[in-house]
């Protein structure tokens, strides 16, 4: 039995860091026990609430947009594109954004939004829509929009792929029966297709929510959390506390809090997910 030692090793390697971070969270830098003082310092830091708000706004911008656009495009392709070759081509094109390194997408976004060289302003100016340079990355609200747009660009195809695959599992008979009964495309969606897609929405929400909490790369490249703290999402904030403020205790306390929240979320959601169990 080679399984148990292998599992045991991996399990230990995974678990040890948790103990370390818990210990870090209740000690000061010199190693003395300070109880929950790190936690109270972390919770009383107003920057934490800026980060939580930024993360919440980001999630609210990104998740509904991705799900709506992904669903719209999945229904669109499902209803209008019939040729298998074209469907296959769309599939290949849709997986490509998913594997582009977020750092590289951050670079692309810079080329579009940056002041001076940013091509979006150039285009808007040539179209005659814009007369004064728009600071896509300099204005707090626009910066959040810019950062969110990158996420939407990269992950809407994922939503599309999952929902499109889901639409293919809808039995043809029930759709045809409904069409004979004169169902419009909306009733067909509302009463038949939605039923098959429902578990997939949960899956998407779950995976994407976990991703939003870990978003780091493209924001770091695009705005670095700025201007001010307007795009400083949770993971950028943690990074800053640990590696810019060098406040290890507070960072560890935050990390423990994030881990506990994630595991709660995880146990909650796995109960309703359609994961293959066997």
């Amino acid at each position: 039995m080679i399984l148990l030692p292998a599992l045991g090793t991996v399990f230990a390697v995974v678990t040890i860091p948790f103990f370390i971070v818990v210990i870090q969270s209740i000690t000061a830098d010199d190693g003395s026990l300070v109880g929950l003082r790190n936690f109270s310092r972390a919770l009383s830091n107003p920057l934490l609430y800026d980060a939580l708000r930024a993360t919440g706004v980001y999630a609210l911008l990104v998740l509904p947009t991705e799900i709506f656009l992904g669903l719209a495009f999945a229904l669109f392709v499902h209803r209008t594109v019939r040729r298998p070759g074209l469907r296959a081509a769309i599939y290949v094109l849709a997986i490509l954004p998913l594997v582009v390194p977020p750092v590289a997408i951050g670079v692309v976004a810079r080329l579009i939004y940056a002041p001076g060289y940013g091509v979006l302003n150039v285009i808007l100016e040539r179209l005659g829509v814009m007369h004064q340079e728009i600071l896509w990355l300099g204005d707090p609200n626009l910066a959040m929009f810019s950062v969110a747009s990158v996420d939407i660009w990269q992950w809407t195809p994922f939503v599309y792929l999952v929902l499109f695959a889901g639409l293919q599992t809808v039995p043809k008979e029930s759709v045809e029966a409904a069409q004979v009964d004169g169902a419009t495309w909306w009733t067909q969606f509302r009463y038949i297709e939605l039923f098959y897609l429902r578990p997939l929405f949960l899956l998407i929400l779950f995976f994407r929510l976990a991703d939003v909490i870990r978003v780091f790369d493209h924001v770091f490249i695009l705005t670095g959390g700025g201007p001010g703290t307007s795009t400083q999402l949770l993971s950028l904030y943690l990074y800053r506390v640990e590696f810019k403020f060098f406040d290890g205790g507070q960072a560890a306390a935050l990390a423990v809090a994030v881990l506990v929240t994630i595991s709660l979320l995880y146990t909650l959601v796995t109960r309703v997910l359609p994961l293959e169990r066997a």
Binding site: M1, V14, V92, L111, L161, S235, L273
Partner: protein, 285 residues
């Protein structure tokens, strides 16, 4: 029936297809187009007063500037070493864990437990564990060494490996190995000569996906490396972006290089990526 393909509804459908796909194509194509065009610009053109949207005297100068003058080929080499090693380690450990749970009579609870545990790791936010890892890596004195990244990337990709390999192995009938064992092969030869060749396409796909994930990784590489000794390519790209004066064509060339390999690999492994990303909930057609 064929002749009716010119009815107004069919025409409307074609028009809708063209418009819908056109918009999507523009939104996805143009940013990448602009990246490539910028990477082909010369330094002189960057300072021109008008910005050309079309390529204008394209040159590969930015690529040689990034790879040779800035020495990024070393980072590229680091990335390849780290990613290839990660794939190797992850697949081997993944097989050691998935072979028993798919081929041997293990208790169901152990099976489900292993799979659920692997899945839960997928939701671990890297930023929350980078703090203890930083401490561990410094204690082990492997800070700024490729081995630190290889270890951590292998750990973080193991859930994918386990779920994907489990799916592939489960599809290969047990009888084939049983037959080989009846013919006198031992378990090891049955694994090596019967199961492994059959599982190769799946293993390759899993390997490619893990390679691209490791290739894209940025946070751990940023924190656990400091010099070209271990820095990976994304860290180099970041250095070009956050410096005081951005050299646009160099930055764009670095972006093109960073995305070229994963895009090429993904065209090969295209059938498996969605199954991988959703832990087998969505299977390929």
């Amino acid at each position: 029936m064929r002749r009716r393909s010119r009815t107004p509804t069919a025409l409307l459908r074609i028009a809708l297809t063209v418009v819908g796909l056109g918009i999507a194509g523009l939104l996805y194509g143009f940013p990448l187009y602009w990246l490539v065009v910028t990477s082909l610009k010369s330094k002189a053109e960057l300072f021109a007063s008008t910005i050309h949207l079309l390529p204008h005297n394209p040159t590969l100068a930015a690529y040689s500037s990034v790879l040779i003058d800035r020495g990024f080929w070393v980072l590229l080499k680091n990335s390849v070493i780290v990613c290839a090693s990660t794939v190797l380690v992850t697949i081997v450990i993944g097989l050691i864990i998935t072979y028993p749970i798919t081929r041997l009579p293990v208790p169901v609870r152990l099976r489900v437990g292993v799979l659920n545990w692997a899945l839960s790791l997928r939701f671990l936010p890297p930023i929350a564990v980078v703090i203890p890892y930083f401490a561990i890596v410094r204690t082990l004195q492997i800070y700024d060494q490729p081995i630190a990244l290889i270890g951590i990337y292998s750990l973080f990709n193991l859930p994918f490996a386990i779920w994907m390999l489990k799916g592939f192995l489960a599809e290969i009938p047990l009888e084939l190995e049983d037959a080989a064992q009846v013919d006198g092969a031992n378990r090891w030869t049955a694994f090596w000569q019967v199961l492994l060749p059959l599982a190769t396409p799946g293993i390759l796909a899993a390997g490619i996906i893990i390679f691209t994930f490791a290739w894209s990784e940025f946070l751990f590489a940023l924190i656990l490396t400091a010099t070209p000794n271990a820095q990976t390519f994304p860290v180099g790209v970041q250095g070009l972006v956050t410096q005081f004066e951005i050299i646009w064509n160099d930055m764009a060339a670095a972006g093109v290089i960073a995305m070229a390999l994963p895009l090429a690999l993904m065209v090969i492994a295209r059938k498996y990526i969605v199954a991988g990303l959703t832990f087998g909930v969505i299977r390929e057609k």
